[in-house]
Symmetry: C2
Subunit: 338 residues, 2 copies
């Protein structure tokens, strides 16, 4: 880990646009002198940087929720850190903040880049990127707003041991659902059954996924929380219960959308089962973040909500970090500690 | 048209199960003597029989909303007629009723086969099978409950000149939407623009469907009322607006679901556009039929809601009638007059 030089900022720059998943060679690290703060700006010393599957979309050329990151610019990311200097009346030195601070050591931003003040100061600031950030908030809001789970219903979760999925499973259980997780490999399946409290867990790499779902969801799937798309979803859709809700939260199983992949048509399942399938993006619901985070934090303090973090060290770990997510090498929320 | 012999009932029997769409050779017509009514039974002289795309599903082996029609039994259908004899205290001779009376001249049923009393006696009884029956009620309820159209939004309808689609387009217009219809061939496109009042109509047989949708829906599609699935839907999904709603109402473009057909994956569209896709089956909403029919009937009396009927004559027309629907030979709601 390189030591930061005073007055300098090291940054991870997007240097080329990948066709599929961003690889290490699509980034470079540079170093730049800090300039004096201008009126309205805030300077943040980043402590933890986020690595998210959705970053693939932020790098892609078009057709996504956000404008693509321009070539030659700092990679967009959420980060958590402390205000070290402020010329904004909204923020003061020492404030712990979450925001769009990018993959760099020092962020110099206007106040609109700050997403929120991290008020849960009794808990690790890193949680603001994961279980008390987009992952946990996504899990709670998407599950309740779109999934609408009722006690006694069967909730099936893909990437069930992941940073969103593990929270979904635990929240579903707290809401009285029978929870069934789908994950890849025996370690993740063990995590599902152990720390994440699923009633059943299925290893999709073990084969016969259809049969396993039918066995673990004998009354059908009332809520399918879909983080993957792909073959896992294709096995779930025929097993939806009448009136089922499918939360479309991620498409981790799909490497690229150009050319656009095909799969079994969903219309007939939705029609026959009178089922619903709906996309969810957590940034559409900023007005509900604090409420959601307060609930999640309380569950963590009470020991009702477990989580795992996959911590990489130093800015040098950034370039390969997204590709690593898609290689499935992380267990839990991937973050970079600076 | 064969004349009915007193005391006898002619019926259309399902004799074999088709792999895809039911053809004429899957049915036979027989004649049976009527037996005396038993306590609780009602006898109805059918006047109009319904022919619906959904019948394909009622004949198929499994995996549908209803149990399949057994081999050797009268083809299930809605019909409208008059009570000619009653041993049920709920019904009297002369009552005009809609119900599950089947493809036959005389239905002898228990009272639970009666769906409703047709109270709109100022209008043709045949309408109870179409615009004042499943088609119109589907259009109104599915559009409002799932489509949730708002004034100024763009509503795109597939099979836009059909018995459901034509009502959807007109209702959407009454609700203040910009309405765009997709139909096959110049006659149907002309009907869309003329009697059904669409703001724009697209002939999918003319090619370049993507470009036509982009031209007619420049701000994207807020509500897609999908009666077809297939290539038309595949062209629509990439053009959904943010927050769009897709009403999955029918899959007329798909000949068979065995083997299950594939198509472009929908998950990414739903995710990026924060869109919803949901199936609708009108029989789940029987408690709202009378309310819906009253609204639709008033629009018809006021000249605000047009419809077309495709009337075939006599029981002999039944066996080929479903196949004809899928050959696209009807214009408007297909019914059989007895």
């Amino acid at each position: 880990m390189t030591v930061r030089r005073s007055g300098m900022n090291r940054r991870v720059i997007l240097t080329s646009r990948p066709a599929g998943i961003a690889q290490a060679e699509n980034f470079a690290i540079d170093e730049l002198a800090l300039e004096p703060l201008r009126e309205g700006e805030v300077r943040i010393r980043n402590r933890f940087l986020s690595v998210d599957p959705a970053m693939r979309g932020w790098i892609a050329d078009a057709g996504n929720y956000a404008d693509p990151v321009p070539i030659g610019r700092v990679m967009r990311s959420l980060a958590v850190g402390e205000v070290v200097e402020s010329r904004s009346r909204d923020w003061s030195e020492g404030d712990r903040v979450l925001g769009w601070f990018g993959w760099q050591e020092i962020a110099t931003v206007t106040a609109d880049a700050v997403v929120r003040r991290v008020v849960q100061t009794d808990l690790s600031p890193s949680l603001a990127l994961g279980v008390l950030g987009i992952n946990g908030v996504t899990a709670l809001l998407a599950l309740t707003m779109i999934g609408e789970p009722k006690a006694g219903e069967t909730l099936l979760v893909s990437t069930a041991a992941g940073s969103v999925g593990s929270a979904v499973g635990q929240i579903g259980r707290l809401l009285g659902c029978r929870t069934v997780g789908i994950a890849g490999g025996s370690t993740k399946v063990r995590d599902c059954m152990g720390r994440f409290g699923y009633d059943a867990a299925i290893d999709y790499k073990a084969g016969k996924l259809d049969e396993a779902i039918a066995r673990e969801c004998p009354d059908g799937v009332d809520v399918y929380f879909d983080n993957t798309s792909g073959a896992v979803s294709d096995a779930v859709l025929p097993q939806l219960a009448t009136g089922a809700r499918v939360v479309v939260c991620g498409t981790a199983a799909i490497d690229r959308w150009n050319p656009w992949p095909t799969g079994p048509r969903v219309e007939r399942h939705l029609l026959v089962k009178k089922a619903r399938m709906q996309g969810f993006v957590v940034f559409d619901h900023m007005n509900r973040w604090e409420e959601a985070i307060a609930i999640l934090a309380e569950w963590i303090r009470e020991g009702k909500l477990d989580y795992s973090e996959d911590v990489l060290e130093g800015l040098e770990a950034c370039p390969d970090a997204i590709a690593g997510l898609y290689r499935g090498e992380n267990s839990g929320k991937r973050i970079i500690r600076l």
